[in-house]
Symmetry: C2
Subunit: 502 residues, 2 copies
Amino acid sequence: MNHHQLYAAYKQLNIKAADLHHSAALLEWDQEVYMPPKSASFRAGQLATLASMAHELLTADAYGAQLQQLLASNQLSPDELANVQLSWYDYQKNCKLPSAFVQELSEQTSRSFHAWISARKANDFNLFAPELHKMVELKKQQADLYGFNHHPYNALLDDYEMGATVHMLDAIFLEVKKELNPILKSIYAAPQVNDAFLFQHFPKSKQWDFSIQVLTDMGYDFDAGRQDYSEHPFTTSFSPTDVRVTTRVSENDLSSLLWSSIHEGGHALYEQGLPQDQYGLPLGAAASLGVHESQSRLWENGIGRSLNFWQHYYPILQQQMAPALDAVSLLDFYKAINKVSPSFIRTEADEISYHFHVMIRYEIEKGLIDGSLSVAHVADVWNQNYQHYLGITPPNNLVGVLQDVHWSHGSFGYFPTYSLGSFYAAQFLNQALQTHPNLQSDIGHGNFTALLSWLRQQVHMHGRKFTSNQLCNNICGKNLDLGPFVKYIKQKYSAIYGLDSL
Amino acid sequence: MNHHQLYAAYKQLNIKAADLHHSAALLEWDQEVYMPPKSASFRAGQLATLASMAHELLTADAYGAQLQQLLASNQLSPDELANVQLSWYDYQKNCKLPSAFVQELSEQTSRSFHAWISARKANDFNLFAPELHKMVELKKQQADLYGFNHHPYNALLDDYEMGATVHMLDAIFLEVKKELNPILKSIYAAPQVNDAFLFQHFPKSKQWDFSIQVLTDMGYDFDAGRQDYSEHPFTTSFSPTDVRVTTRVSENDLSSLLWSSIHEGGHALYEQGLPQDQYGLPLGAAASLGVHESQSRLWENGIGRSLNFWQHYYPILQQQMAPALDAVSLLDFYKAINKVSPSFIRTEADEISYHFHVMIRYEIEKGLIDGSLSVAHVADVWNQNYQHYLGITPPNNLVGVLQDVHWSHGSFGYFPTYSLGSFYAAQFLNQALQTHPNLQSDIGHGNFTALLSWLRQQVHMHGRKFTSNQLCNNICGKNLDLGPFVKYIKQKYSAIYGLDSL
């Protein structure tokens, strides 16, 4: 085989594996939105088959040999080489996990998840603890199998954010504490804004219609996607031409559907913008979870919670929800949707205290993985830290340590990407505004064309070609930097809370 | 390996293949009900991957050797033996088709299907003809690859109705002509019943709710299934615990949604009744398309178009659709829903002329496969036969030869199973009524428990253990027999049309 044929065979195998992964993604989407309850058991088996067959394809000896041949060839284009190098990296990682371990992890995930569900139903962390303990032991084992430098958590982080380390995260969260703690304290001491009018009755169908309009305006292509309801909003992709979002609605709370739609819309625009001709290959996949979250946060917070955005949309919203918001001014609405106050639930947190939610989880999971913390003490540490950082103690574990699904899924190393995403988002948006002086004015007219095409060019079209850190350097000329986020927060919230000194 | 281990390995491989097939079924379901339009191309690739990987599993040499070992063992239970024998039969058939041929057929199916869509859009059969011709050539080749006795069409029939032959079908359709032609003529000569009131405005949501109630009463388990809208109603199964139906609605025609829901409900009850512990194995699959259609037709026509059924449901329907049907008596409603008149569209035909629609297709496809008819003459033969048997000539090909999707899919041998199903249905229902004297009275009270449990025991629970002919003998003590169908038709329609002499 010459290098063309070799590359074509490599591409074909990866498309095959991607077809299996995306089929599994559809089965999972269906599971969340339409699947009848009795289907669960056979569906779990079908998902396991798809996953194991994809894993087999991607860890076959022949595939490894093919990759080595391609790496040895000097005739690949830069993009082809980037694909093959990333695939080789993935291959070596995948091969480190024996099939029996993958199987055990998959079964433990199922057990932990069901234990978590039961624990939530009974509001009893002890029902979850033994299965969480087993999961932690497996994840430690996984870190050992992968191998790591300095800290076992680094090995797990790499699955979500290639190149991220405990060293880097410790530094960034230290800065989070240093910079954001005083801001939170000043805001807590200031007179609170009123957001009571957000909790009136807003008919489901009107909220839905509004979210469809915003998604459409953002540039989300409904011919290559759709929105459905699910208990927990998420974005999933079966190809760049079929990227779906889900949302949830509360008729007594305008924010639930609105923010989840814009947030998931940001994720979806990224997936719709990945290059179609790289389907199944690394350059056809998102760079990292942190970069993914940068897209959702940029749209949700940077755009969707800005005064500019609502200058265009608030009159429309007022009209559609009339008369509920008739007496509420744009400025009062803007303040309300940016209200900062301590809360128990991460997904409902304001954009400042959010990062303390993440940090608490990060520190706990780092401790679990390096053995300095045992599952028996997790709930206590959780509650103490909520008291320490946010001044509140969860009244029960349901709104405390049992609130997130991640640990039951074995997703240790996932949480920090939420914060990284927000900080990247601030850096990226800052850069976009500098590059396009008209951007703010466009946004104020509900026109996101320039912003989307900038994101397409700077982020989406590259797939995994660059790590998050490389992307950040390409775009902003520097590494991850909390500066733009802090600056944005200070400007925005000093105005909202009338604080000169933030 | 002892025979237990061998059988376990055999079962595991079949479950794996079934997981792939059922995943594909979900992708297809999604394609019909929720998929955004731009997804089509990647989706086609994903479906091809799933199909080819399942085909690989089921045609592997090692699998064949395993089956032979199992067949040579004398220690299998009767059910295990039945599974292995059927799998061996399937294996030998599957192996007769080289992968390249399977691939070519799959690609031609895609081309023919798109040509058919274009031809329908333009109402121009010539756009479809060249691709239909290529498809026919491939199907002839498939018959040759399979090998056959007497007639190449027999080889294709076997994919849908194991054991059915041209010999048997020619005989049954000869009888159809002999028995049903005079009945049709008498009815056409009699004063027509009035069905105008079926074409009033019936709100979509009310029709939907009524169909949900009927499906629930039939015993369809909504915790193991769901109903959605699609352009062409169908039933699909991802396991016996997830069997979904689709329906369509016309607000100006009560019959569209009603009959499709009951018809698909009959199919779905069969799939929900297949033994769960045989998932992936022949005894966990339906016996044949004919038997499948016997279930849908039994419910749709034998039950859903009976006077008895409407004695219970008509007052409910009247109330729900009030005031549209207030002035229409039960008997007039019953007559209207059983109106017999010549029509162009098979799926909208009454239960007598329906079989002439099928026969016309059967004779054309038989001729295409044995080479006595060329694609160039298909439309003419179609139109002539509609004139000959039903006394009407389609004004265009859209309501003529272009109406069905089957040939574009390469499904030659499928149509006759629709008629076989109706005739089996009449035999089965006749037998059920003899066995359970209270059945009619139960049905008259909207109680289908006894009927469903009889069908479960006689048909559903056996999977593919028996061929349609064996099943028919087990249940009725005789082979396929048009007698009960003709008797049912004569009794029913002599009353409706006031004809003593049918």
